[in-house]
């Protein structure tokens, strides 16, 4: 049963592309007629509740990271994160800036990093195909890493931003 579910979730991935940074402008060509991401069954959805993949397209300032973590926690397992561009890997062009996040992996588990200072659609499709293989083989377990060592991620997050009183998302249950 689990194999069928993995196969299905590989063949039909729904995006929550959060339009952070400059990568957002790279995604529309992926949906339009030239590249047509829908062939893989991938399409944009409106809310984190309905989405499986979280695309972080570009640098993350602290203000955006706060919204990204909240959206990530509102998504439902199994959820995957794709880091677009070198800014998500080690801060890229803003490597020594006081305001941007250097390594997104410290705050939310990222399954695939796509190099390039905004990867072109071909690179994005390559990443999608790789993600599909990983899901089918069951390796794309970023969401389980988030649950297992939640304390690690949470400490990093608290170092960078404070969760306000109305955060209202209870901690992921540690099992």
């Amino acid at each position: 049963m689990r194999k069928v579910a993995d196969w299905a979730s590989a063949r039909s991935m729904w995006l929550l592309w959060y339009c952070t940074g400059c990568g957002a402008v790279e995604l529309p060509p992926c949906f339009t007629s030239r590249y047509d991401m829908e062939r893989y069954g991938i399409g944009p959805m409106a809310t984190p509740r309905q989405a499986d993949i979280f695309l972080i397209t570009g640098y993350l300032s602290v203000k955006t990271l706060k919204r990204v973590v909240r959206s990530y926690e509102q998504m439902q397992d199994p959820k995957y994160v794709l880091g677009h561009g070198s800014c998500t890997i080690d801060g890229g062009m803003y490597w020594d800036s006081y305001a941007t996040v250097k390594d997104v992996g410290l705050y939310i588990p990222v399954d695939i990093y796509i190099a390039g200072c905004m990867p072109r659609p071909e690179a994005i499709f390559h990443a999608f195909e790789k993600l599909q293989d990983m899901i089918k083989k069951g390796e794309a377990a970023g969401w389980r890493r988030y649950k297992d060592n939640y304390r690690f991620y949470r400490d990093n997050q608290d170092k960078v931003f404070k969760r306000g009183p109305n955060w209202a998302l209870e901690e992921p249950v540690l099992k």
């Binding site: 049963m1 579910a5 299905a8 979730s9 063949r11 039909s12 409106a46 509740r49 309905q50 439902q76």
Partner: protein, 316 residues
């Protein structure tokens, strides 16, 4: 009221047929829309994969038992509607299922779902549902006139008899052209295709009622949407296109033939609205009310007047 075994078989077969057909139609519709945009589009079975993925998700969040009930109601309503619609000529529930009762049954699902979405506490879902109900008020006027004109023309409110009366290609669309066109226009809003998809507008209100539904709840809503499409388009086919009763005679073979014809006709009707959906933007709510209470209502009135005069043997 002993039900023959054939009825019980059909009673469980009908929802399955409608379920499979619904997702197949949606897959075809996505392929056709993609072709309109000159792109390849997803495989036709994409809709089945989506539903499997949604039910395969490891976790689905709910805001309480009322949201669960909302999702349940959506599926119940559409299954009950599927049971009442004659598929391929013979009414599943052989009792003389009434057209007016059916009109009310079609409302169980939206109202039940409205209950579930309302309890999620997200304003987007409440706005989406209130738009859905307003839209229903808009297209219900011409649709009610069409229903009445068909009932008066065939002098029976039972869908099964209407389908029998249209046997061997004496389709009602030839007899009541105006009502048929008005019904098709209101079908556009019933199926929720652009320009009347305000209730689930993804960009404006974050997909309306489905905003807080994830995992299996979203799966159940998608099942509801797929089956509702087949039921509503199928209703139009039964009313105006002879309900697919092409092969007469009892036994299994003509039954399968009839069901096949009925499914093809339903697909054609659905694709008509999908093609319109491909090229239209989205109306505002006020515009859709003015539109629906203007031209389609006029058409439906002409159809109704024609039937009433016809009944009085004034015309011939």
């Amino acid at each position: 009221m002993a039900w023959s075994t054939q009825t019980w078989v059909m009673a469980f077969l009908a929802p399955i047929i409608v379920f499979m057909a619904g997702h197949l139609f949606l897959g075809i519709a996505r392929k056709v829309t993609a072709r309109i945009h000159r792109r390849i589009g997803p495989p036709v079975i994409q809709q089945y994969i989506d539903v499997m993925k949604l039910f395969g998700k490891r976790e689905s969040t709910t805001h309480g038992w009322v949201q669960d009930m909302g999702a349940l109601f959506a599926v119940i309503g559409v299954i009950v509607a599927a049971l009442f619609i004659p598929i391929g000529g013979d009414a599943v529930l052989s009792f003389k299922g009434d057209l007016i009762v059916l009109a009310y049954i079609l409302v169980i699902a939206p109202l039940g779902m409205a209950l579930g979405t309302g309890s999620t506490g997200n304003p987007n879902s409440a706005i989406g549902v209130s738009r859905g109900l307003m839209l229903m008020m808009a297209y219900e006027l011409p649709f009610a006139m069409v229903l009445v004109s068909v009932i008066l023309y065939y002098d029976t409110a039972s869908l099964a008899e209407i389908v029998e009366a249209q046997g061997s290609f004496k389709w009602a669309i030839l007899a009541l052209p105006f009502s048929a066109v008005a019904a098709d226009i209101s079908l556009q809003a019933m199926l929720g295709e652009k320009p009347f998809d305000q209730p689930v507008a993804p960009s404006e209100i974050a997909s309306g009622p489905m905003v807080e539904f994830g995992g299996k709840y979203l799966g159940m809503l998608m099942v509801w949407h797929a089956m509702a499409i087949v039921v509503e388009a199928g209703l139009f086919v039964n009313l105006f296109l002879g309900g697919g009763a092409v092969f007469s005679g009892s036994g299994v073979l003509p039954l399968i033939g009839n069901i096949g014809v009925w499914l093809v006709l339903t697909l054609v009707m659905f694709l008509v609205s999908v093609l319109i959906n491909g090229v239209f933007g989205r109306f505002k709510m006020g515009q859709s009310l003015r539109f629906y209470w203007g031209f389609p209502t006029l058409l439906a009135l002409i159809g109704l007047a024609w039937v009433v005069l016809n009944n009085l043997e004034v015309i011939y």
